[in-house]
Amino acid sequence: MNGYHGRFLKVDLSAGQTQDMPLAENDLKKFIGGASLAAKLIYDHVQSGMDPLAPESPLVFATGPFTATSIPMVSRYAVCGISPQTGYWGEATSGGVFPFRLKGAGYDGLFITGRADKPCCLVIDPESAEIRDASHLWGKDIYETQDVLKNELEDKGFSIACIGVAGEKLLTYAGIMNDAGRAAGRCGLGALMGSKNLKAIAVKGNLRPDAADGQKMNELAKGAAAAVRDNMLSVAFREYGTMMYMDMGMILGDAPGKYFTKNVYQVEAVTGQALRQAYTVENYACLGCPVGCGREIKDFKPDLDKVDGPEYETAVAFGPLCMNFDLESIIEANHLCNAHGLDTISAGVSIAYAMYLAEQGVLTKDKAGLDIKWGDGQVMLKLLNMIINQEGIGRVLARGTLKMAEEFGRDPDEAAQVKGLEMPMHEGRAFHGLAVSYATGPRGACHLKGDYYNIDLGAGIAEYGIMASERMVSAGKGGYAAKFQSFKDLFDALTLCKFAPYSPTQISQILSAITGWEYTPDDLLAAGDRSVNIKRAISNKLGLTRDGDKLPKVCLEPLTEGITAGQSPDMDLMLKDYYTSRSWDWNTGKPTKEKLNELGLTEVAEDLYS
């Protein structure tokens, strides 16, 4: 089979067994790989009312056909399962070396069920797959875990993904970390890994499936490299990281402040330029990536000679969203989250909500155990430590904004989340197409499955007719948002970086050259559509209805200043347009039976409508 090994490693941690899990060629053709293939594999295991942390709840790591090829910006993997944070479909992706090594070990992915009776780790290479004791790693942070395990394995060829203390303690927004501080942060999949007593996965190898037409693939790789080289965004990310957008985001009204109640503030101290001026900053690149958008900060503190730098999402969440413009505390918050394996977005939003509640007189000093004020970076760090250590008020903040609202007797519309997943750091009031993407995203509020701000800033997808329009207009956005969401969902099937500036034609040619199966741009879009729909069907099985497709009031109420003053997306209008475009049933929130059949999801249609 070209482009794939044609097998996952199936791991039953309860039984302590591993075995090959062959993949059906037809599934690979239809679902391609990554998160989409994971959805196909997970669908059959999902039962209505299933506890995400139950032993039988699967945890899937998946690469795609692009992984470990000569195409730039492809060293990514997807982690999927039922989200402990939302109770619905959950997925997160990360880059680094780990995806190359996982595929290099001879597997397209891992399908993990069960629960080990004591902490364990998986050690996988082309010759063997072992479940080993990891009791001595339990309680260690992710950097130490990786260092200790690498030393024990006495082989620098291993790459490691692991959980920190947050995952061990089943914190609802715990992530999975790999290759030092790279994060598959969202949806609480670190808690799912922790529930299995699985501390770490070490992978090694250089096995690469053949491409159907290697010469063609290499030619296309050159074209892809040229597209990256000529792309302004790539240049900007290389120089300043994703924080290059901090000031532009504020100017456009896209970067939220003060828990989504403000978008005008003094941003200068927390930009990508400010980071470079204040610290010695080096680039971090995933394997084979010419961009290197990641940041590493040297000589941060006497006891921390190197830390991973914050990304845009993290910098806004711990920065303007908390009205904190102290760069050092933002970097330290990012480091704490990385070290203990925590999603920076959900952590930052939860802390910002605590500050909002303190201002409202709800979270008093007596109740919180400390005086919580906007902009106090030191208090922010204390709260973060309390979350990680599950101390005092930290136990409530650790459950996310929806549970916080419930705990404090507040209106749930005050909780900045969709389906329980905290809002990312782009504003639906600044880009209405993004608002409907947030409401309907497969995993909850997600800026990566439909980064509509890029469309309305001029980076349209001409081949699909998705073009820039007035960004603060709702009419006509729902259908385009659905189409764009399908296209971007596909990136996590291919395991292609979201920043890769490749056209649908380029992607379909590359996929055809690698697999030997002919894909057109329309086939790609259909695959993305299929992927979104099977993920939706999983969430429907777990109880999701149209009621879950909404933005909270706190993210919709018009602001009083800045370029987006007075703006509020017309969610009803866009949702109806979206539902029509997707052929989803307005009453049940499910894909229609006809739509599922049209996408070749006949068994899903029968199951969902049985």
Binding site: R229, M232, Y245, D247, I251
Partner: protein, 93 residues
């Protein structure tokens, strides 16, 4: 002669090499004339992915916001004393 003030925001300021600049242009000048003047003064600073040296204009999506208007074409006549803000239309992260 007419005086035009320009303001460059965000990383665009880093790449142009200044946050603000003033240009004296002949009366009746267009946006194209301003771009030419910007190129003459700053093109050596700008990355090739940003500035088209042959055409003397921005290659990337750059928004030019003038006095109560978005300037969309090079032929647009400039207004005396107009302040034009330039934004690089890139998002991400």
């Amino acid at each position: 002669m007419m005086q035009i003030e320009t303001l460059f925001y965000g990383i665009l300021a880093d790449w142009v090499g200044t946050q603000e600049a003033s240009f004296d242009l002949p009366a009746g000048s267009t946006f194209r004339d301003l771009l030419t003047a910007i190129g003459n003064r700053y093109e050596q600073n700008m990355p090739e992915q940003l500035w088209d040296r042959e055409e003397s204009l921005f290659k990337s999506q750059v928004l030019a916001e003038g006095r109560d208007r978005i300037i969309e074409t090079p032929q647009t006549p400039l207004l005396e004393g107009e302040r034009i803000k330039f934004f690089l239309m890139l998002a991400g992260g």
